[in-house]
Amino acid sequence: MTEITEQKKALPNTLPRPAGEEEQLLHIWAQPTGWRWFTAVNNTTIGLLYIGAAFTFFVLAGLVALVMRTQLAVPENHLVSQDLYNQLFTMHGTTMMFLFAVPAMEALGVLLLPQMLAARDLPFPRLSAFSVWAYIIGGSVFFSTIFYDLAPKGGWFMYTPLTLTEYSPGNNADFWLLGIGFIEISAIAGAIEIIVGILRTRPPGMSLDKLPIFGWSMLVFAGMIVVAFPAVILATMFLEIERSFGWPFFTAAGGGDPLLWQHLFWFFGHPEVYIIFLPAAGLVSMIVPTMARTPLVGYKLIVVALIATGFFSFGLWVHHMFATGIPSLSLAFFSATSMAVAVPSGIQVFAWIATIASAKGRFQLNTPSLFVLGMLFIFTVGGLTGVMVAMVPFDWQAHDTHFVVAHLHYVLVGGMVFPLFATFYYWAPMVSTQMLSERLGKWTFWLMFIGFNVTFFHMHITGLIGMPRRVWTYSEASGLGPYNFASTVGAYIIAAGVLVFIIDVMRNFRVGRHGMSNPWRAGTLEWLPTDVYSTRSIPHVTSREPLWDQANLAEQVESGEHYLPNAPTGGRETIVTSAIEAKPQYIIQMLGPGWMHFFAAVFTAACFLLLTIKVVVPALVCGVLAIVCFLVWAWDLDKGPAKGPIDIGAGFRLPVYVTGPVGHGWWAMVVLMLVAGSLYFAYLFSYLYTWTVSPGVWPSDAANLPSLQWPAVIALLFIAGAAFFAVAKATLPEPGEKSLLTPLLVLLGALLSVFAVYLEIRCQWQTGLNPVKSSYGALVYMAGILDGQLVFAVLMMSLFVIARHFTGKLDRVRLASLENTNLLAYYTVAQALIGLLVIHGFPRMI
């Protein structure tokens, strides 16, 4: 049984609670109605919107797959043209990966995590809402390109040189590059929210060793997004710049290398598989113990497996490039990791089986369980074929055949889609007035399970016979017709299963509170009684399955006997606890509904999409409007310390405002810096990689480089800028006072950084270095662009800080906005100094 470490004798608050407490909570957390619904930020609303949108994209991508399967049903078919088929498989893969799988998992994070952690909401509710709207708007426009013959045709991986302007003219590829780049930014925003939410808004007592496995899996998931997504963002920047301005990152004639795209793409693309799988595995680890009526076997081992999978998945990217001619020994390193990653994946599978076995016949066989068992079978088959393709000689035989199509669908559908449907059936009562139908659920499962195996099992055979992927049709003489026909029949059976599910949802899913708060008799906190404000009070947790181990917890929480049963600041708030031990630290005052995050999403999406079709001036106007919306939104974030400290129960009087490393804003900024660091790491990899491929375009004589005085002066300017920011913090006035020195120092710090970036670009330009002429030039100027975008952000934040100072919202106590600006400024300087060392030092060393 779960270890109970700290059994509290007395409850944090006493009864009876003062009259009107619950009414106040209901009023504060009320959902906006009518046209103001667009302003909603409650996690259940946003989570349902998110998951609904993701499921819609799943259905749309599924319909696209049906068209493809119909085309392939018989040999030499002409239902769709070759060109449209290329668009269809590109849209199917892109939509499933970027618009369904990752957003669906982030949606579940937004929907389930606050409930599992008994937090009133995630720490940045408007950031979640921004992510959702950005994703919905960007995703819808992107998907609609299929109807206008504007959809990309280069596959979901968009390999160069096929996607260079020379071979892919028109805007089709640009829609992928800018659209997906934008959606990735939305995913990163969601990941920041999830990391800070899990680490800082757990209920008191829920130390990390008591965190539900779904929390661990989402923590690893979000961490992987932070590290992996910047690589593909950089790759899309490179390719869009090459397509628009001719900088030869990927053109061999200019010293670039098409394989650089593959390295950057798969550094993101392979972890992406685990980014999708790990949260789904976390969901399974929540469902299995409930259905088995016993705690999960091997909790610690599963945590280890999640973390190890997260790490190992970054050593697999060349696993997709075994056929590109890379030296065999290098391939072996990646082959080794491809096999090593099977070990932690296997640990999880065995832990689930052991948990089911330890139930000794009490395991309930209902719809969620069926989907879990289906997942175990399908994912295990996919894992075994994964070990096969991890072996280089076998991969050479199966590469780009339908065998790989079968493998990836067994992994992704088994590893993600089946757990997702288990989730729909299992967690529906948490947000719906009634449960989904068991009868229709079982129909859904069997149709999907049979349909899936009929569709994809044959592809192992057609692949081994030699049927290549992404072919529009095939000859009758190949003998592949019967297998393909069977696959097409299977695809329609899957579609029938999904249709039954949609009917079930339409008949039975109604947003609201279910009559029984814990219909599965589960042990975790999301099954506590809730309302719009989440739980009435925030429980003190003493075990991993508090609802099993803490007697009468649900009644105590609902009657307000645990922490924060009221709203002492008169606004939306939740408890922030320490990252490891979950000790109460302070109260976070959160923002409620508003328009700015919505308009920020609209204008950001418009900016990216207008850039895609090269309508530059309106795009810039939308960009400016988006920045204004962000700044107006951020203006209310820092509410100051005036309403604290407050009593949350058990004698804890907590402040409502903190700064420095304890504050959640500081944590979010640190995670953002990790994103920027990962992007810059990918840049440095690209720089060094390109040199190994084309050393001939690197300057052979130091006389062709800017003299060393330039980097010395630039470095001094950056360092001086950082020093100004540091001194500005020290000169902050007491509350109620103003000091001209502080804004002046902040402005000077930002302007010095701007000037430094200008000098860096100018010193390269005056040597005659042209970014269009060689990959070396392109990479050198790219460093300036990467520094420049950070410096621009620092400048905007500095102007924001100055405005706050002049309006009396920045002083020695209320300084979070300046602290965050300083953090970004210091990071920018560190990145710029590393860049100077590489750009000016490396060519002198070779």
């Binding site: 270890e3 470490t5 700290e6 680490l199 130390s207 990390l208 060793d209 610690k300 081992l301 945590v303 280890v304 973390i307 190890a308 790490f311 190992f312 970054f314 050593g315 056929a323 001619g325 890379i326 030296p327 065999s328 020994l329 290098s330 072996a332 390193f333 082959s335 080794a336 990791t337 096999m339 090593a340 070990v343 932690p344 280089v392 050479w396 320490s578 990252a579 490891i580 031990e581 000790k583 109460p584 630290q585 302070y586 058990a650 004698g651 804890f652 009087r653 907590l654 402040p655 903190v658 304890v662 060094l688 190994t692």
Partner: protein, 126 residues
């Protein structure tokens, strides 16, 4: 009744880095063997064999020794975690995580390192 006079504070980064020491060793090993192999093969071409062998053997042995130390003598690193506020159960949990992650990392390091003895150094079999 506990009254909070000041904000409770604990050191998160330290315990996180210590617990993840095994995978970080694997990351460094992986980056070095791949990076060294790629760069030495490109720059030294026909003379690369000796240097690639030496570099990979040295880094693999070093990584394995470090990982074994984490598994057998975890106190070496745990002494660095001086946060007094940590509960005993949490300490044990993170110590267990650290050792198991180090054990899994041994597989990754060993699997990559021994490839050297079976394959040509810089040539592609294709």
């Amino acid at each position: 009744m506990a009254t909070s006079k000041q904000v409770f504070s604990e050191k998160f980064i330290g315990i996180a880095l210590l617990s993840l020491a095994g995978p970080f060793i694997w990351v460094v090993h992986f980056a070095v063997v791949y990076g060294v192999h790629h760069i030495v093969c490109v720059t030294l071409k026909n003379n690369a064999d000796f240097w690639v062998h030496i570099a990979i053997i040295v880094i693999t042995v070093a990584a394995l020794l470090a990982l074994l130390a984490l598994i057998i003598k975890p106190d070496i690193l745990q002494r660095l975690d001086r946060d007094q506020v940590r509960q005993e159960t949490t300490k044990e949990f993170f110590a267990g995580i650290m050792r198991l992650l180090a054990l899994l990392s041994v597989f990754g390091v060993l699997w990559s390192g021994i490839a050297l003895f079976f394959l040509p150094t810089c040539a592609s079999v294709t």
